[in-house]
Amino acid sequence: MKFKGKAWVAGDDIDTDQIYHGQYLPLTDPHEMAKHAMEYVPGMDNFPREAKKGDIVVAGKNFGTGSSREHAVLCLQYLGVSCVVAQSFSRIFFRNAVNLGYPVIECPGIAGRVKTGDVIEVDDESGLVTSVATGASVQGVPPSGLEKEIAGSGGLLEFLKKKSPEELAQL
């Protein structure tokens, strides 16, 4: 799938408390959760209010470091951020995103190539990230077979639900 949207650029090592602070973990209402997305990222206080559906987060290295909380993925998904492109992802955040059917694109060469406000296009199948204004593009890492299969189903639960009870028993 291709996503086109306005980029919000965040730095390196954006941790799970910055993306979704621990104090909000008991929240379950998607609308309430979305209100706190990226709230603790320095300089991005306005993000939950100003980010529009379809916008894209572009981050540095090790995005999502820290806790195993899925809320860090869900708050972005619920806010309508279409995908996250990062130089690299922390292990559990990446795995959670795949399992929740949320597109995340690892793109080691993205640093310094996009600034906040640029409109970019992201192809989550090929891993290609393109600036709409200049046409310049950076090649990211395309998803592996299993990632593709789970993500293509819309996440791990949908992937399992597609299976018959017999197939589930075989798993």
Partner: protein, 418 residues
Amino acid sequence: MGLTFAEKLLAAKAGEARVRPGQIIEASPDVAMSHDNAGLVITQFKRIGVDRVWDPSKIVIPLDHRVPAESTKTANAHKMIREFVKAQGITAFYDVREGVCHQVMVEKAHVLPGALALGTDSHTTSYGCVAAFGTGIGATEMAAVWATGKLWLRVPESIRVDAAGGFPDMVYPKDLILYLVGRLGVEGANYCSVEFHGPAVAAMGIPGRFTLCNLAMEMGAKNAVVPYDRVTGDFLNGIGAGHGTAFLPDGDAEYVRKEICDVSRLAPQVACPHSVDNVRPVEEVAGKKIDQVVLGSCTNGRIEDLEVAAAIISGKRIHPDVRMLVVPASRTILLEAMKCGAIQKLVEAGAVLVNPGCGPCLGAHEGILGDGEVCLASTNRNFKGRMGSRTSEVYLASPATVAASALTGKITDPRRVG
């Protein structure tokens, strides 16, 4: 070429003779742990359309993050979890009284050497202290594990740390691991299995090994381990548990990185805001004024930690401008600390005793920081605003440094407190 701990263990779990880093395997966990976030796991589990969990005897649920419940939302989530465990026949359920999940898992022998343990918590890496393979996953993935009893894992590359020498006075395993996180960086071990070896580790008890494996997460480790040895065996005998299976890495195993350090030359270390790899020797940050100290957590809330702090603080007064919070990692530890007098000494000196659990570590309750406040904690994370206000700061150190600083009201080198 020989095999690492992770390669040997995962090959056995996958039923294969040999696995290599990068390979995707399917395995069934020996134990699956969830804490308060079991609420979210249950919600996701119900969406799959399977009625019963795959094996109720392999699921462990200790409530620890917000205990006793700090809000109606949490109270209702806890209530749902209690109902679910009863309905599913999950007997290894520990209600709000028992302590931090990771401590409970080790203490109650839910993880044994050679176990593949999954937890919906990043610090599940801690189980390497008893030579198990512990790794953190998200709630949705755990729901799938509850339904199917299986998950996929990528076989990790391994990093080998060799620690030699004896620890100097007032220098502890916490200082060693903070030093290593500082050296490798917060993504220095991302996706990797970290093995701890060497004489300094061989001489270390399970509590110190717990601290190492717990904080290895802060360099991104998928799992961390101190391979099975006599110390592991003695500990398991002590708690009346079996010895599991010892997976010992081969001498010629292949590592992507090797680190060697001599702990006898190590000074107390402090991780400064707002990243766990922002580590400096205590001398460089000594004098920083603090408002709160936290002694406890799954990182450093064990009896040895409380005793070290009590010995430093005994007979003295905590600085009047400092709130000292003491959070034993479990009920068992609290009872021990009451018996040995550590709690008496700490409370007499002015400390506030908080019930066993995660306490203020994740900024949920029981000691939130106000605007601009500074905390020195024996916990594992100092992310921006982690313990409360986004303008607050958290520094991380050993229980000894925490105790010494509680007396002076500023970050203090424990070697200088007589």
